[in-house]
Symmetry: C2
Subunit: 236 residues, 2 copies
DNA sequence: ACCTGAACACCGTTCAAGT
DNA sequence: ACCTGAACACCGTTCAAGT
């Protein structure tokens, strides 16, 4: 998606950011270097520094641009449905720009755009009548899920156990019986399963629904911090 | 913690890994380069390649060594308490080696040690009688929490709103009212609050307890995949 | 005043030359 | 056979020299 022809009109910040987003979408985050981005724009590397103070600022700008794609908050009467919908919209955006998640994670400080997104999400909970105290814990618990992704580490394994060489499958079953048992059980709707055989959307919705249901229950019960027993191995 | 004196005995893999862990604990992950690690060991950079095939393998070895510090699984009668205890042990380890989390996240494939840890955790749930199906979703939902950390992005803000210059506090309240409201509400036990004013352990335990309580409830109710309504904005 | 090439201080890793 | 220095192909960014 590199723009080779149009480098007649002058560069500006937006053109730089859009080109960077397109390059990352195409070639991955590791393709983003000041030098390569300049080349994609038909420009000398140092020319970028007129529009972007540093590589860090470039990356922040890219994330901000991606966050701008998330659907604005709805204000329907059902706060739970509003939140759920917003989070799933964030997830759609993150699926389009998989690199954005890594940049967001590596960010040392949130940009104003990221703060504004977080703020608006918080206000959806407050609008539902939840106490600031409860919302505080909820935000910690949801964590990166409000940005549409979860820390899942390594995809649970390729999971096509049937396609492995039999001696490898044998070895796996002997060494990691738990992983194999769990990886084999995937009774999801086959129509919605993507690629590697695991229905990521189902898992994501399962996670947020479990969390939101728990939160809603606590809210209904008038939960307060002091009720949470910190010492015993107690469960909420 | 660099070993300056003892570079008489020959290098071996373990010495390299331990020195790398110590260096990362001391100086942070960005201090880990083949060149700097070699210097810390009083050795020429290329000497490391005798014991470690590449920087990637070095990082994997460092994580493996850290995972080795996590308490082995207990097999008490209460699966929930067993799991909870193991996860909190993982958290203690990760607090000692904060860089490990970033390495684990960046890993493209799990090492055998990481797989073994995941496998043993899965088996704790299976030993509790949960179906492989439910455990599958649980593992997705817990995500990186089984390794003792959560994706929390940026610490919710420094949170000492009282210490901000009044015009900044004014600006924050006007611009991010939700964040401010939530950040101000921290009625935790002051004795356990660390550094920045937010009780991380409380938040972590709140999160796992909310999740484990939800899972336990589903298990008691004989939950099956098909019960989860994928289309409506339904909550479990 | 604007633009930009060379240069600096780093990387991980290859490879050939030393012993 | 082992060890290692120089070199390669990259970085982000500074800075001075060009226009």
């Amino acid at each position: 998606m590199a723009d080779d022809s149009g480098h007649r009109e002058p560069l500006n910040r937006e053109r730089v950011l859009l080109a960077a987003v397109a390059l990352a979408d195409d070639a991955g985050l590791e393709a983003i270097s000041m030098r390569k981005l300049a080349q994609a724009l038909g420009v000398v590397p140092m020319a970028l520094y007129k529009h972007v103070a540093s590589k860090d600022e470039l990356l922040n700008g890219m994330v901000d641009s991606v966050i701008g794609e998330i659907e604005p908050p709805q204000d329907g009467p059902d706060w739970l449905a509003n939140v759920r919908r917003r989070i799933l919209s964030a997830r759609d955006v993150m699926l389009r720009h998989p690199w954005a998640r890594r940049v967001l994670e590596a960010q040392s400080a949130p940009t104003p755009v990221v703060l504004a997104y977080t703020d608006s999400t918080i206000r959806m909970f407050l609008a539902g009548g939840l106490s600031a105290d409860l919302v505080h814990h909820v935000m910690h618990t949801l964590g990166s899920r409000i940005f549409g992704f979860t820390q899942e580490l390594h995809e649970t394994s390729p999971a096509q156990a049937e396609e492995l060489p039999p001696e490898v499958a044998q070895y796996m079953m002997a060494t990691y019986p738990g992983i194999v048992a769990v990886a084999m059980s995937r009774p999801h709707d086959p129509g919605t399963v993507v690629g590697s055989g695991c229905d990521d959307r189902f898992e994501f919705e399962f996670g947020i629904d479990l969390l939101l249901a728990g939160v809603e229950r606590l809210h209904r019960q008038g939960w307060r911090s002091a009720d949470h027993d910190r010492d015993a191995a107690s469960v909420i």
